[in-house]
């Protein structure tokens, strides 16, 4: 099986280092690039990585353009958000923009490698509690979408 290619984009360079060490220590994974600014992150889209680990703060910078922008440049890349003490609303916004999962930065050691593998295999990495919020959001959007059609 070919190696899972990963780009790590984190404005917190210490955390970026932790992620890099964890992933380089795992078999079957290659860190192809790292970035600590939004502009660099968009530049790494040329690697067409399987996975982008994206700092939620960076995802929210510049009117939250990072995630959609990366996806237009590398549509097949699956994105996992790295969150600090993020509010659910921010995580939900990131997921609505196409992130396939999110990971609390405190749990990196336990779950980072697992999450990357799961998401690379087409699964998602979200907590049960978040699923309920996803469905609420979905229902809201459905309602918005249905109304104009009926009118």
């Amino acid at each position: 099986m070919p190696s899972i290619t990963v780009v790590i984009a984190d404005s917190d360079t210490r955390r970026l280092g932790v992620c890099r060490r964890l992933l380089e220590g795992a078999p079957g994974m290659t860190v192809v690039a790292t970035a600590d600014t939004v502009r660099e992150t968009i530049g790494t889209a040329m690697h067409r990585p399987h996975i982008l680990l994206l700092d939620l703060k960076m995802a929210r910078a510049n009117d939250a353009a990072t995630l959609p922008l990366f996806r237009t440049k590398s549509p097949k890349t699956q994105i996992i958000l790295l969150t600090g003490q993020a509010s659910d609303a921010h995580v939900l916004a990131g997921i609505s923009q196409g992130a396939r999962g999110y990971l609390d930065a405190k749990l990196l050691r336990r779950f980072l490698v697992k999450a990357v593998r799961a998401v690379a295999a087409g699964e998602s990495w979200v907590s049960r509690a978040m699923v309920g919020k996803l469905i609420d959001q979905l229902a809201r959007l459905m309602a918005l979408n249905v109304r104009p059609r009926r009118a």
Binding site: N62, A65, L69
Partner: protein, 272 residues
């Protein structure tokens, strides 16, 4: 009934629960067609509708007796169970019992999928429904959850997991298989994109309406640069960059950076 001490360990509800559990085990009576009914005698009222009741009432609905038996096996330790074997029985018991959870076999005759679900929800709105199906599909799962189901699982699910699912749903969370979650995410993303595209300008003004300086800035935005980075790159102040951007937003009819960035990337050729 009076209790001589105020110790929480001997609180009324706790005692009743323990009492009820014992009684429940002893008084399990079997009716025709293998339908179990708990006869809780005088304690039934207290347990089931009393204030601060800790008893979890679950209605098991399936026409297949072996399935109900499996569910009973998996759940009898954590809940008071009632059973129903067809739609009218489900409706009747929902209305009478208002159970916390309804475990519903989607292949039960006369149910008619989605319509059936919303019909049942009207009878007892507080009841949370977990759907079980022999052939789970992502699309069905998504639409059922949107319609208000709180769980959607495969019939082959491990009995241990069933108990866990019930506990999660009781807590107010949702229980679905991993595959269904992925499909939920897909649906959410495409709906969000539809929403966003609706707010993009209908007529596509070409980027030619921009001045050369504005085009430079727009290109940088498309590359993910911040105002500060652009200012640095072009040797101007951030204020100037902002002024240019305001003009760009007005000319192209976009509302923010995100739209502009996507717009630029969708229209890259005209920049050249």
């Amino acid at each position: 009934m009076s209790f001589p001490c105020n110790d929480k360990r001997f609180s009324r509800s706790r005692l009743i629960t323990q009492w009820g559990k014992r009684l429940f085990r002893e008084k399990l009576v079997q009716f025709g067609d293998g339908v179990f009914e708990a006869e809780l005698k005088g304690f039934k009222k207290d347990m089931v509708s009393g204030h601060g009741s800790t008893v979890l009432k679950i209605l098991l609905a399936s026409d297949v007796s072996t399935r109900r038996a499996q569910w009973v096996q998996a759940l009898q330790k954590i809940a008071v169970l009632y059973e129903a074997i067809d739609r009218s029985m489900v409706e009747q018991k929902l209305a009478a019992l208002k159970p916390v959870i309804l475990l519903l076999d989607l292949s039960m005759p006369g149910l008619h999928g989605l319509d059936g679900l919303s019909g049942l929800q009207k009878i007892s709105p507080s009841t949370r429904t977990i759907l079980l199906t022999t052939t789970p599909t992502e699309t069905e799962g998504t639409s059922m959850l949107e319609a208000g189901a709180k769980g959607y699982c495969s019939m082959e699910m491990d009995p241990m997991l069933l108990a866990k699912a019930v506990k999660m749903v009781q807590k107010g969370e949702v229980w679905v298989g991993r595959k269904v979650i992925s499909h939920l995410l897909d649906t959410l993303v495409s709906l969000t994109e539809q929403q966003r595209n609706r707010s993009l300008p209908k007529a596509d003004p070409s980027l030619d309406v921009l001045t050369p300086r504005e085009k430079e800035i727009v290109q940088q935005i498309g590359g993910g640069s911040s105002n500060k980075e652009i200012a640095h790159q072009l040797h101007v102040s951030e204020k100037t960059v902002k002024a240019h951007l305001t003009s760009v937003f007005r000319k192209l009819g976009v509302s923010d950076r995100l739209h502009l960035a996507l717009y630029v990337n969708g229209h890259r050729p005209s920049l050249r």
